[in-house]
């Protein structure tokens, strides 16, 4: 019996090691597959840097419903805007929202689609309350709701981080201006409706 203990122990430890190693590799493979997306559908005259990886960093899950309202190229565009939204969302988490807002008003408008301090304050507070920090890692982005209102699509994103989970609403505005189509993401005045 005494001789069996080290053998059983070593088998268990080796089993755990092999399992954890395989599991890690699976996660990385999943990420790599998800990141390969084509960017062809974007607007002409857009400067694409040499050797682009052609990806949106944060891939949306359950986005098929979007195809009922947007063509595939605009869907890719939306994913890109969501990527910028989430990356700036993390960057913008702050303990001094007033000062941050004053210093970064333009970026907050551009990337978060927020035009008023009040909305920024509420969003920041919501993130902090849900234990999202600047270094949180995005694990999953799910397009959980989509509703059409004229030119607007009201979208709800569920974002899972390693530290917590949030739900954010925004409007996707698809509009022609001077014969060019544009997709804008606005989150003002609806970020409260979680």
């Amino acid at each position: 019996m005494k001789r069996l203990i080290p053998i059983v122990l070593s088998l268990i430890i080796i089993g755990i090691l092999v399992y954890s190693f395989i599991n890690k590799n699976d996660i990385n493979e999943d990420l790599d597959e998800e990141e390969i997306v084509n960017i062809d559908g974007h607007q002409k005259d857009v400067f694409i840097p040499d050797n682009p990886r052609d990806v949106s960093v944060y891939k949306l899950i359950d986005k098929k419903n979007l195809l009922n309202y947007l063509d595939p190229s605009e869907m890719q565009n939306y994913e890109d805007l969501v990527t910028l939204y989430i990356s700036f969302l993390l960057e913008s988490i702050t303990e001094d929202p007033k000062e941050y807002y004053e210093d970064n008003k333009v970026e907050i408008k551009n990337y978060l689609g927020i035009y008023e301090y009040n909305d920024f304050f509420l969003l920041n507070e919501y993130l902090i309350n849900n234990e999202i920090v600047n270094k949180s890692i995005v694990e999953k982005v799910i397009l959980s709701e989509l509703k059409k209102e004229g030119n607007l699509l009201k979208a709800k994103l569920s974002i899972k981080f390693d530290t917590g989970e949030i739900n954010v609403n925004h409007y996707i505005n698809y509009v022609y201006i001077d014969k060019m189509s544009y997709l804008f993401l606005y989150s003002n005045s609806i970020t409260k409706e979680r």
């Binding site: 857009v46 840097p49 990886r53 408008k109 551009n110 030119n151 509009v175 804008f184 606005y186």
Partner: protein, 255 residues
């Protein structure tokens, strides 16, 4: 090897393997994180290189809110405060004005810059309808209105006699027209009438004469005994030297 020695060996082995796996994953995560950063930078570059993308996003913002509030029958529109005050606009003014619309789609046909405002030629329609509507909207970074309105000018005048009091309360300047706000108070116990034809109000500039049109629901030319009435008088010109009212059989110059 004794059992104790074997367990110690196993522990050291596990520690080495764990450290190895940890370092591998750490560097892999770093690689991913660096790649993500590069991708995000590319996306920043992409939108910065779409001509005027963020300027147009700002420009479109208030227009989007305007149509959203019409669709939702809510009130989220930032109307120019001067315009709101001058025309005594109530909160449901636009909701009433667009009450026939349920689900508006809009398109900005063109935009031009005048003074500190953008004037947008906008076409819109109800979803599924054939009929297409057209309006010129004015926006700046905060406010919107569905007319090519530019500003309110000071234009004041008060004329009083034993029968009536006339108050000129200002002038709204549009892209190509003016709207005067005129209050008339009847001081006597009989109806006072403004000439109900196009000569009721008119303006002059050098040799040109411009006749009026009543707008914003001002439509009656009769003022009841001891009553008062506010007229919004549209003159199709910006260049105006003098402005007249024909009231109670008299022609009175207000400017």
């Amino acid at each position: 090897m004794s059992t104790k020695g074997f367990i110690l060996f196993l522990l050291i082995f596990v520690l080495i393997i764990s450290s190895f796996v940890y370092v591998i994953n750490l560097s892999k995560n770093d690689d991913l994180s660096n790649e993500n950063m590069r991708d995000i930078q590319q996306l920043h570059l992409k939108y910065s290189n779409i001509e005027d993308y963020y300027e147009l996003k700002d420009l479109n913002y208030n227009l989007m809110l305007f149509f959203k509030s019409i669709n939702n029958k809510s009130w989220e529109v930032n109307i120019f405060p001067g315009y709101k005050e001058f025309f005594n606009i109530s909160e449901d003014f636009f909701i009433d004005k667009y009450s026939g619309f349920e689900n508006i789609f809009y398109e900005v046909i063109s935009y031009t810059h005048i003074e500190d405002k953008m004037i947008l030629d906008v076409k819109y329609k109800n979803e599924g309808d054939e009929e297409l509507y057209s309006s010129e909207f004015v926006l700046n970074n905060k406010y919107v209105v569905d007319e090519p309105f530019l500003r309110i000018d000071n234009a004041f005048c008060e004329i009083e006699n034993e029968n009536y009091l006339i108050n000129l309360k200002g002038r709204a300047i549009y892209k190509d027209k003016s709207i005067y706000k005129v209050e008339v108070i009847n001081l006597i116990d009989k109806i006072i009438e403004i000439e109900p034809s196009m000569y009721g109000f008119y303006a002059k500039d050098k040799l040109n004469k411009y006749y009026h049109r009543l707008v914003m629901n001002s439509n009656s030319y009769k003022i009841i005994p001891f009553g008062h009435y506010v007229y919004f008088v549209e003159i199709p010109s910006l260049e105006i030297e003098s402005f007249f009212i024909n009231i109670d059989g008299e022609e009175i110059r207000l400017i």
